[in-house]
Amino acid sequence: MTELAAPELAAAAPRGRRHPLVGFVARRVAAGIATLFVVSILLFAGTNVLPGDVASAVLGRDSTPAGLAAIRKELNLDRPAPERYWNWLSGFVQGDLGTSVASQAVSGEPTPISSLIGERAKNTAVLALCAVLLLVPLSIAFGVYSATRAGKPVDHAITTISLGAISLPEFVTGTLLILLVAQWLGLLPGVSIITIGETVFSRPSILVLPVLTLLAASLAQTIRMVRAGMLEVLRSDYIEWARLSGHRERDVVLRYALRNALGPTVQVIALNVQWLVGGIVVTEFVFGYPGLGQALVQAVSARDVPYVLSVGMLIATVYISLNVLADLLVVLLVPKLRTAQ
């Protein structure tokens, strides 16, 4: 995406008047919204148009004709698909996420999805935030350290361990952590269940293993890429020049090299934050963590179409927004791209 940024900026720059960034930001955001619109069609088609009646999928083997008719009516399944799509999307944009069919099948009352996900969304945000807040400084610290000791045993150890961590799926990392830390050493809770009335903050220990699981793969990935970026910069002429003019190695690394390696690093970290979106679903399920991801998996199992559709759309919105944000951030941070005319 960044490769595109420079020529696009140059083409957009009007003579004198507007700052070139304004046009770039506007076009990048518009492209994001357009993508989101197409993705919404894809999600709707994936859940609604494929073979199999949603109503019978929800009720499964226990379906009675009366129950089927009720759910069909509730979901307006007798209407044509484009009309249903439009009703859903216009509701979604205004904050009406629809009603959950699975919880209706249990309680008999139509339950608005927005009332079901408030607390869960907060819990997921806490988990994601903890992971990201640790991911950024740790990946830069380990990446820079590893790059300055390239070829030495420490560097080899970091590179090898991170290759291993990248290879493991989140549910295996999580399961092994549960076995090792919770089961064998008995140190931390292996499940992250909270009772009614509690919040995640009343028992912060339940956050530790999920955060570690999320960090394992993404941290390994970012460390490798920060290291690669730093190595490239450290080999450049101006770093050699800085060394030759007698700057201390510490200053050379932190003041000159790191700043120049930071641009690509930001994008890498942003990409990994984006990947956390997928990892968080599996991680929450492994630990029974009461977040959106765990609820999404349960909804998929119950084939609760409105729930999957709305929560899926929320996740896609976050995912695509992160992508747009990363692009904007890189352009802001890399002077060459910012001023390209």
Binding site: T35, L36, V38, V39, L42, L43, G46, T47, N48, V49, L50, P51, G52, A57, T160, L163, G164, I166, S167, L168, P169, E170, F171, V172, T175, L176, I178, L179, Q183, W184, G190, A217, Q221, M225, A228, L271, Q274, W275, V277, G278, G279, V281, V282, F285, L296, V297, A299, V300, S301, R303, D304, V305, V308, L309, G312, I315, A316, Y319, I320, N323
Partner: protein, 282 residues
């Protein structure tokens, strides 16, 4: 010949050797395992949740099935399905890329915009939505995982095709009056194949990761199927009494993914591309 030699050079690097040895060992276990399994993997053969003992080397699971037998049977599905999904992805992705790269019509931008949209959806979310709409089945799972890879393969093949399409031998074939299908298949495909397959190992790792994750979530293969990922989620409830029913399949999946990734990394490095730039997103 030299191309093949270059492709095999990874086997001489340290991590390539380790990965290859581990991978072959595991492949042997997966292939021979079912032949030497002491029990039927689906049969209830004893009391549930026994720890490893003289009769059951890895104990029994929550239903009283032999964990060792299930572990010996349980690797086939994950390896076979990943290989099928990855091959299918290459077949479809390469076809789309060839057509988009060779045609100069509206088909090219249309195909590529469709690929962009697919790339904009998180892979796991895509598979979850598919499982909701089309049900939890092996066919849906394999088609879904293949679809996740298609856009990036199509992009690479398209660029490679555009580079090759202007070469003299393609123009010569055109001048001879050969049909488009034969130009694509006989002139262009063989020349883009190297670029295309360079990251096959990385994609295979990606397939294994995501397939196993979906099976673990209970949205792919269904019980009583013996599958490593499925075994982990089935036996999580009894983890305090019988940790081995969870530990054995978890360690084997870890072994498998690390081995495949070591080989993929070694191949990528000896071919001069970096694994980091091509990691398949989850």
């Amino acid at each position: 010949m030299t191309a093949i030699a270059a492709r095999l050079r990874f086997a001489r690097t340290g991590s390539g050797k380790t990965g290859l040895a581990a991978g072959l060992l595991l492949l042997a276990l997966i292939l021979i395992g079912p032949l030497v399994a002491p029990h039927d993997p689906a049969a209830i053969v004893g009391l549930p949740l026994q720890r490893p003992n003289a009769q059951f080397a890895l104990g029994t699971d929550g239903l009283g099935r032999d964990v060792l037998s299930r572990v010996l049977w349980g690797g086939r599905s994950i390896v076979a399905l990943s290989v099928v999904a990855t091959s299918l992805a290459y077949l479809v992705g390469a076809s789309i890329g060839l057509v988009a790269g060779y045609t100069k019509s509206i088909v090219d931008p249309l195909l590529m915009r469709a690929m962009d949209v697919l790339l904009a959806v998180p892979p796991l979310l895509f598979l979850l939505v598919l499982a909701t709409g089309a049900g939890h089945s092996v066919t849906v799972l394999v088609l879904g995982v293949a679809t996740v890879h298609v856009p990036s393969i199509a992009r690479i093949v398209r660029v490679a095709t555009q580079e090759v399409a202007v070469r003299g031998y393609v123009e010569a074939a055109l001048a001879r009056g050969e049909r488009t299908a034969s130009i694509l298949g006989r002139e262009i495909l063989p020349n883009v194949l190297g670029t295309v397959l360079a990251d096959a190992g990385i994609r295979l790792t990606g397939s294994i990761l995501i397939l196993a994750s979906v099976n673990f979530l209970g949205l792919g293969l269904q019980p009583p199927r013996a599958d490593w990922a499925l075994m982990i989620s089935e036996n999580r409830g009894g983890i305090t009494l019988q940790p081995w029913a969870v530990a054995a399949p978890a360690l084997l999946i870890a072994f498998l993914t690390v081995a495949v990734n070591l080989v993929a990394d070694a191949v990528a490095r000896t071919l001069g591309t970096s694994i980091d730039r091509k990691r398949v997103a989850r």
